[in-house]
Amino acid sequence: MNNFSSILSQYNWDHQWENIQQKTPFEVQMALEAKKPSLEDFKALISPAAQGYLEQMAQKSRTLTKNRFGNTMQMYAPMYLSNECQNICTYCGFSLTNKIPRRTLTDKEILQEAEFLKHKGYQHILLVTGEANQHVGVHYLNNAISLLKPYFTNISMEVQPLDQEDYEILIPQGLYATLVYQETYHRETYKTHHPKGKKSNFDYRLHTPDRLAKAGIHKIGIGALLGLEDWRVDSFFTALHLNYLQRRYWKTRYSISFPRLRPFSGGIDPKVEMTDADLLQLICAYRIVFEDIELSISTREHAKFRDQLVHLGITSMSAESKTNPGGYVVDPQSLEQFDISDERSTETIAQMLRNSGIQPVWKDWEQMI
């Protein structure tokens, strides 16, 4: 069976770009009417031709989301554990070359942050670190999960890609999901933005979801950093990746996130701008083609936009996030990984959801299972 790297190599980026650009309104209509939409339908739905069908797409996305997920929204909070990083990523505030104070939370500090988030009502938590195996290797992560287990029922992480045996240690300990973004599926662009560190190995990162699934993880989150490359082509490859994973690892659940490149001090500008309408089109396209997956939106996006997205396909969101280690209590002044847009409190967001007829769900997992 081919691995995803060899599948990816069968596709030419420029051909896919042309193919998406040339999709016609008729193909968009066919995609909207398809009983079991395909990846070709996905391309039609993210194409420029579909821009005129955004209202129909939003209607369909809303209906499908309601059917599958009901009138609910899964709430989670990120907890940054460390900003140590051995990689150079041109777009990231934690990049090795950025001269910022580095910090990795101690046990005591982790618990202080945990108390704060627990008090806010969170039961689902996402642990985030830079990519630094010496500082935040398996041992550190394992310890963090065991410290946090009494506080939260659902623990996910977004850290450096690990080996399968590492995941096999963390999953029984209580790790539910792992997010690993390829950033871009364009090999050359990837190389430009990740010139140094373990992250420069495109294929090791690309095969991380396979290692996670083989280790028995419950949920895998994937995505591209929207703005590094043409968002349409990168999203098609993300969908191709998702389709590959779903067929092979049918017991695993999947989540897609939509990080748009955000400014940070000294960072790069997006190569390709993505408007709010573009992002909405992409979210709807995912929902129409992949009815069952979690679609997640973070506080990178602005409040007014998020308030609308909660009706249109999104099923998981964070609130009041801090993107610096210790950002909630321990060291609120330290430099953030990126600026957040929606700074409203957890309670304000929860109330917004309730006013919109959506029930915020704090707990949807039982750690003891």
Partner: protein, 257 residues
């Protein structure tokens, strides 16, 4: 069919089971459950806060006419299901469990092999097991053999609202079963629920169609009436469908007068 639904010696006036997921708020859910007059209400164990004795999701369902039926949604194999059932027994004080094992993340279709294994084990541990399964007549008999107190075959995949896509197999299951048959999943409208009762199902379980309707309370009442109508029609014996017309006043009858 008796007027009451009886499972493991316990009788229920209502033949409508209702799920508590997908509602816009706990309050709407509670009012809907009460309006449905359902007496057997499912709740996902994973949504219950076991560390919080108040169990916010369950508040308002503490009613002497309502029995809670925890389900094992989220588990991927028999071993996890058994563990979840034990947790539920401890937390909610009931030995009834709806066994849901659907490792298939996309369509949430139940795993027949793991379900059978889990039920066998749980029966031995003293549980009243109610397995959610595909409409597979042989599997239903196997589940009866290991002591399942009812079977819960699907009409269509969960949340699709497509109705009784498995109709022919449901009819075989109902014809052969010695335990109550509760049609679960896929029931999208009161007419689907009515149809399930007309073919002789003992009860139906509905969640999505009620929870996401514009007016869940009205919809719950509509389902209640539909289930009662279907039961009544089944008891009154439905006329057979035929391919040739049968006149209610035969045209040649005068010859024999």
């Amino acid at each position: 069919m008796n007027t009451k639904l009886t499972i493991a010696g316990k009788s229920f006036r209502s033949r409508l089971l209702i799920g508590t997921g997908k509602f816009s708020s706990s309050q709407v859910m509670q009012e809907t459950v009460l309006a449905s007059e359902s007496q057997l209400v499912t709740v996902a164990l994973k949504r219950v806060d076991l560390k919080n004795e108040q169990h916010s999701i369950l508040q308002g369902l503490d009613h002497d006419q309502i029995s809670l039926l925890p389900n094992t949604s989220g588990v991927r194999n028999a071993e996890e299901a058994v563990f979840a059932a034990q947790l539920a027994r401890e937390a909610l004080g009931t030995n009834w469990v709806k066994v849901e094992i659907h490792p298939d993340a996309k369509y949430l279709l139940p795993d027949p092999i793991e379900t059978l294994k889990a039920c066998e084990k749980l029966v031995k541990l003293g549980f009243v097991v109610m397995p959610y399964i595909h409409a597979d007549p042989v599997l239903c008999k196997r589940l009866e053999d290991v002591g399942a107190q009812c079977v819960m075959p699907l009409g269509a995949p969960i949340g699709t609202n497509k109705g009784l896509k498995t109709l022919d197999f449901l009819e075989i299951i109902i014809q052969q079963s010695t335990v109550p048959v509760i049609v679960d999943a896929g029931i999208g409208s009161p007419s689907h629920a009515c149809q399930a009762m007309e073919i002789g199902a003992d009860a139906v379980l509905v969640n999505t169609a009620i929870a996401i309707s514009k007016n869940p309370i009205q919809m719950a009442k509509a389902f209640k009436i539909a289930v009662e109508a279907g039961t009544m029609a089944y008891n009154a014996k439905l006329a057979k469908t035929t391919n040739t017309p049968q006149a209610s006043s035969p045209l040649t009858h005068f010859l024999y007068e």
